[in-house]
């Protein structure tokens, strides 16, 4: 049977078999060369193993792989994240009986089926590119992880099965069975993520191999230093990213809505998506600390490359992005208060919150060494500004990001209680306790930040841990108090869903684009710190692309990738919105 016959047969059926066929081709492509290498036990002439690299025209091999890998990761992040919160929303709807939640969860999953196809297609293209352009590296990776490829392929089939039965089975099964499918989808998705993370973290912090590169232990290679930190970091970041894309979809539908009912629904969808994104975003720096700690534990050199070498300026770009994210998220909450009756009383606090965000952003974005002209440097007495360089060190930056997180959390608290009055007898005491916790934590975080200037580096590094933990603990304690205090709260006004100005929806798009760009940038640094190594310290990159490019070049590649991604996302949104349209009917002659 020829390939075209197989394709013809497949296309005559439904979408699922087509997808499975694509996956099968991709998996076969992945497994074939590995199989060859394993079976032969040596580099067979003409198998591709004697060719180390091939060049891709115009942009070069590295850039094309970079762009496809990032696009694949962005879609994969979305496809893995949406089922996580769709299932939770479905469960909330099941428990409280509110059909709106069920409808919202269903709407979120509408985005999945098209996105899953994009993910698989981009993954296939990436696999082909890697095999063709980097045969020596792929042979080596195959010799280490060959045994994980088949389970990975099977997991992909399981993912497809669960995903399509979860989406097409909406309302067709009992809620428990349907949620069981959702749970299966999520479990398989998480395992897929963990398997793929093993490959990429091995490249960064290899373990389980001899110094000469031969495999000693597959489990050792999988459970390398950064595997679990990356798993957790990605899981959380995926939810933040997926939530923001879902919010952007809500914004897109809101802007095009024709009725108040539609506007109200999509306003709510945008709000929930953004809530998910920001809630997941807040603990992300903590997961980042863990990842950084493990990188240093693996190799001081690798850690120094990340934080003190060529990439140290990348974190200034990151500071700008995170500052913009916080600003956008707070702006959306503040504008959102306009649709809540009774929120006026909290508006006076916004200027203080804005001031706090602005100050923190400025501190975070202040570099340690200034880019200055000769005259300016002469006046400053060096490359470090006499006053501002104080803000450029980690003590100041850790303090700023923790206060930023606290400020955003306060914005959310004000939003949450806009139309509510607590009725419990201890409400006043409860509010004073909450206020005291905020004041104490803020002073504690600032105290530790200042203390950092007067202690040795060894002690200073450790101060970030109590800073982070105090903020985390504050959010947990205040949330628990708030839930208890507002349990039987008096509702002082309604939330007028849909009564939102268009600028709030553009803020959601802005947040989504910023998330995508941030993801691209951090993906670059994670991969880039290996510098001239395919597998750090084990397999050297001897291609013409072995040098580490400038941050400007990397920024341009990230920008182009983000624009391509959103072009694809526009297609996903459009296709997803087709399901709500009326069927086409031939015009009847009058």
């Amino acid at each position: 049977m020829t390939r075209s016959m197989i394709l013809r047969q497949a296309t005559s059926k439904k979408r699922l078999p087509v997808l499975i066929l694509i996956l099968a081709v991709a998996i076969a492509a992945v497994l074939a060369p590995v199989d060859l290498a394993c079976a032969a036990g040596q580099d067979a002439p003409g198998s591709g193993a004697d060719v180390e690299y091939r060049a891709f025209p115009v942009v070069g091999s590295r850039v094309i792989v970079w762009v496809f890998a990032e696009l694949h990761l962005m879609f994969a992040a979305f496809v893995l994240a949406v089922p996580l919160f769709a299932l939770i929303i479905e469960f909330i709807g099941y428990k409280n009986g509110d059909k709106r939640y069920d409808a919202l969860a269903h709407e979120f999953t509408k985005l999945l089926s098209v996105s899953f196809s994009f993910t698989a297609t981009l993954g296939t293209a990436l696999t082909f590119l890697l095999i063709f352009l980097y045969p020596r590296f792929m042979n080596y990776l195959g010799s280490i992880f060959g045994w994980t490829f088949l389970p990975y392929a099977l997991l992909f089939f399981a993912e497809a099965g669960f995903l399509y039965s979860y989406y097409y089975g909406w309302g067709k099964f009992s809620p428990r069975v349907h949620m069981g499918l959702g749970l299966g989808l999520n479990l398989v998705g998480v395992v897929i993520l963990f398997v793929a993370d093993a490959w990429l973290t091995f490249m960064m912090t290899p373990r389980g191999v001899k110094e000469t590169g031969e495999l000693l232990s597959l489990w050792g290679a999988i459970s390398n230093y950064t595997w679990m930190p990356i798993n957790i970091h990605r899981l959380i970041a995926n939810v933040a990213f997926g939530g923001s894309i879902a919010a952007a979809y809500g914004a897109y539908r809101f802007l095009g809505a024709r009725t108040d009912e539609e506007r109200a629904h999509y306003d709510w969808m945008g709000y929930i998506g953004n809530f998910i994104a920001i809630s997941a975003f807040l603990p992300l720096p903590f997961a980042g600390y863990w990842l950084g700690k493990e990188i240093y534990a693996f190799s001081q050199n690798l850690g120094m490359t990340l934080m003190g070498g060529a990439f140290s300026w990348l974190f200034i770009i990151q500071a700008v992005l995170i500052g913009m994210l916080f600003l956008g998220a707070n702006f959306y909450l503040w504008v959102g208060m306009e649709r809540i009756e009774g929120a006026t009383r909290y508006k006076r606090y916004i200027k203080y919150l804005l001031a706090s965000i602005t100050v923190c952003f400025i501190v975070w974005a202040t570099p340690h060494s200034m880019v200055a002209t000769i005259e300016e440097a002469r006046r400053m007495g060096g490359s470090h500004h006499p006053m501002l360089s104080v803000l450029g060190v980690m003590s100041a930056k850790n303090t700023a990001v923790n206060v930023l997180i606290l400020t955003t959390y306060i914005s959310f608290l004000l939003y949450r209680r806009s139309n509510k009055e607590p009725t419990v007898s201890w409400a006043r005491v409860g509010q004073r306790i909450q206020f005291s916790i905020f004041v104490f934590t803020t002073l504690f975080v600032i105290f530790l930040g200042v203390l950092g200037y007067f202690v040795e580096a060894k002690v200073r590094i450790g101060l970030s841990v109590p800073q982070v933990l105090s903020v985390l603990l504050t959010m947990i304690m205040v949330t628990i108090l708030d839930i208890l205090m507002y349990r039987k709260a008096r509702i002082t006004g309604s939330i007028n869903w849909g009564k939102m100005p268009a600028r709030s929806q553009y803020a959601l798009f802005f947040i989504t684009v910023t998330f995508a760009w941030l993801m691209g940038l951090m993906g670059y640094v994670r991969s880039g710190i290996r510098q001239h190594w395919h597998v750090y310290g084990v397999m050297r990159d001897t291609s013409p692309d072995a040098f580490t490019p400038t941050l400007g070049f990397a920024s341009s590649v990230v920008s182009v990738t983000v624009l391509v991604f959103f072009s694809f996302i526009a297609v996903v949104f459009w296709l997803s919105s087709l399901s709500g349209r009326r069927n086409w009917e031939p015009t009847r002659p009058s």
Binding site: G213, W313, G537, M539, F547, S556
Partner: protein
Amino acid sequence: MNNALKVAVLTVLTTAFYAYVGHMVPQKITYPPESAELESDMTTEQMVKVGGEIVATKGTCLACHTIGSDKPGRFPDLGGIGARAGTRKSGMDDVGYLAESLYEPNAFIVDGFNPGMIAPSKPPVSLTDSEILTVIAYLQSLGGTPTVTMQTKLKYAGQSPGPAAPGPRPTSLAGSPGAALDGAQLMQNYACVTCHKVDTPEKLIGPSLYDVGSRMSTAKLYESIMDPDASVAEGFPPGVMIATLRATQFYDKVTASELKTIVTYLAARKGKG
């Protein structure tokens, strides 16, 4: 304006803004380190010189160590190590101690510092046994007298991966821009001569370099280019040179081989013509 168009414009402007920020920070290309080719009949003086270069470049030692600073970095200051090395561990001479520090750095931890140094003999640094001998000679020269030769047999010899390792392979930087230029031409091209005289003792914006080879070791020359504020010549303000080099994008443009050529050229300026 149509909503979709507005969203598209917003997306393009946002990404363009972030790309702009990315282009505004200092730009630097980092090239893979170059392998030093060592001859077995090198004199001790030559070994010290090569060792100093390796410490400042391929060895990446100065990422964590300082030389003659009161504020040590992540790991101990190396100033005067040549005098101290023989007294660190009882029953171990300076060559033995320095060799152990390079092959098994966590076997002995100096008080007040944490373990964590990776062995330069292993990847990712991968210094060869010969390169390590030159590094030991250089370290001995810091406050002591080099005694090691290229024929010295260390008990660790043979542990470094060498060319047989399937993973790491030597990288050729041949053909990199400027490789064919000599030191004087590079000094001219990078406009160093705008601030420094190289053929007379006359001071310009910076000190004259006509006798710099007799005043500074090779490692010090590397440091004075890569981190000019680490020690500033008396009577000259700090910060000026680094700001100039950044403004002219010297650090973005210069390659490892060009830097080596410049340092070799400067090391030869002994003040005689």
